[in-house]
């Protein structure tokens, strides 16, 4: 038997996820959580590089560092800090959820997912007075 012809190009995972959602066939909650875990991971990576860049201004002397810190002292940056806090907490708790699901198979992943969503939200709201 001849080798089967290959499908010209398989749509990528992200493409398939979006297409399915747009066509009305929603994905499982866990799939969206997995996507969010990837996205928050990328955000944290970008933040880490930005963080190192800002800290590296200390090599320019105390005055340069003070100027850089003053430059980022802005309400918009505070808002972004809250977002960052939410991202960190979500990423950490979702990782914990995956470990728990491996160790305790009978746990309901949806309850865990909603729980971590609520925990993240509460953590961010409680942190507002400290960040602002």
């Amino acid at each position: 038997m001849n080798e089967a012809p290959q499908y010209p190009k398989r749509p990528g995972v992200i493409n398939r996820f979006f297409r399915r959602t747009l066509w009305g066939e929603k994905m499982n909650l866990g799939a969206y959580m997995w996507g969010l875990q990837r996205v928050t991971g990328l955000i944290l990576l970008v933040y880490l590089l930005l963080h190192l860049y800002i800290l590296s201004s200390i090599f320019g002397g105390a005055r340069t560092f003070d100027q850089t810190v003053a430059a980022v002292d802005h309400p918009l940056i505070k808002l972004l800090e809250l977002g960052l806090l939410g991202t960190v907490v979500f990423h950490a708790l979702n990782g914990l959820r995956l470990i728990l699901m491996t160790l305790f198979v009978e746990l309901d992943q949806k309850i865990l997912a909603y729980g971590l969503g609520c925990a993240t939200l509460i953590f961010v709201v409680v942190s507002i007075p400290f960040v602002w």
Partner: protein
């Protein structure tokens, strides 16, 4: 082809069905084509395709049992892998072949890769001592009846899995993990299935439970993967540094 179409309830109401057609001998790339199907509230996608055959629209598709037992009619319906015999037709539905395998024609894909891999996996119980008498405990019979023997190997979970992109992926896929669990739970099986599962990439599973979501029989291969992982962790903790040296699986 015989069409088992139920009486048409409303001849004026019609549904539109979009099918991704592709004939490798004549077409350069797949193309969408729309068809009109009469409205019948209980019509499945398979019945709609059979109706189109009767109308002279020869769309290639696989079907056999029509009662979600054989798994041959798996296809992407609105982008979601489902059995066509288990899906009620709705307006503006989009049918595509499974994208994981080569397309032979229209909605028919080449599933030889599955059969080849199943031989490689050795998912049947491999017994070291076939002559030994044994009694199967009732709980094993229950587990087989409720979980392991129900997989129809339709490949819907393989299609949905984001961690197993094709047959060459590091992670074989949820269906193979479930079949490995079936063999591992057999009382006569003598292979080290935990190590086999580890080598077959269960650690790459992202635990999204998409396989459980699309499974037409409501099985949960992701749970079997988690059980394998837990057993592997427990085994490693009990015998640190010896897990990788276990040569029972060759």
């Amino acid at each position: 082809m015989t069409c088992y179409l139920l009486p048409i309830e409303n001849p004026e109401a019609r549904y539109t069905l979009h099918v991704l057609r592709f004939n490798p001998e004549t077409d350069e790339k797949p193309y969408w084509r729309s068809y009109q199907v009469p409205f019948v509230s209980t019509m499945t996608v398979i019945e709609a395709l059979e109706y189109l055959w009767d109308q002279g629209e020869y769309i290639a598709f696989r079907t056999n049992c029509r009662e979600f037992t054989c798994g041959s009619c798996a296809m992407l319906i609105n982008g979601k892998p489902q059995l066509a015999c288990d899906t009620i037709l709705q307006d503006d539905m989009r049918l595509e072949p499974l994208s994981r395998y080569g397309v032979l024609r229209d909605l028919v894909v080449d599933t030889e890769a599955i059969k080849k891999k199943l031989k490689d996996v050795k998912y049947w119980p491999v017994s070291a001592n076939r002559e030994k008498n044994f009694t199967v405990p009732p709980q094993v019979i229950d587990a087989y009846g409720q979980i392991y023997s129900r997989c129809i190997e339709c490949a819907c979970c393989l299609e949905a899995c984001p961690a197993s992109f094709n047959e060459a992926s590091r992670f074989d896929g949820p269906m193979y993990a479930l079949l490995l669990a079936r063999a591992a739970n057999h009382p006569l099986d003598a292979m080290n299935r935990i190590q086999q599962a580890s080598e077959r990439g269960i650690w790459a599973c992202v635990s999204c439970f998409e396989c459980a979501d699309v499974c037409p029989l409501d099985l949960s291969p992701a749970k079997e993967v988690a059980k394998f992982r837990r057993k592997a962790i427990t085994q490693s903790l009990k015998r640190p540094f010896t897990f990788r040296k276990d040569k029972r699986y060759e």
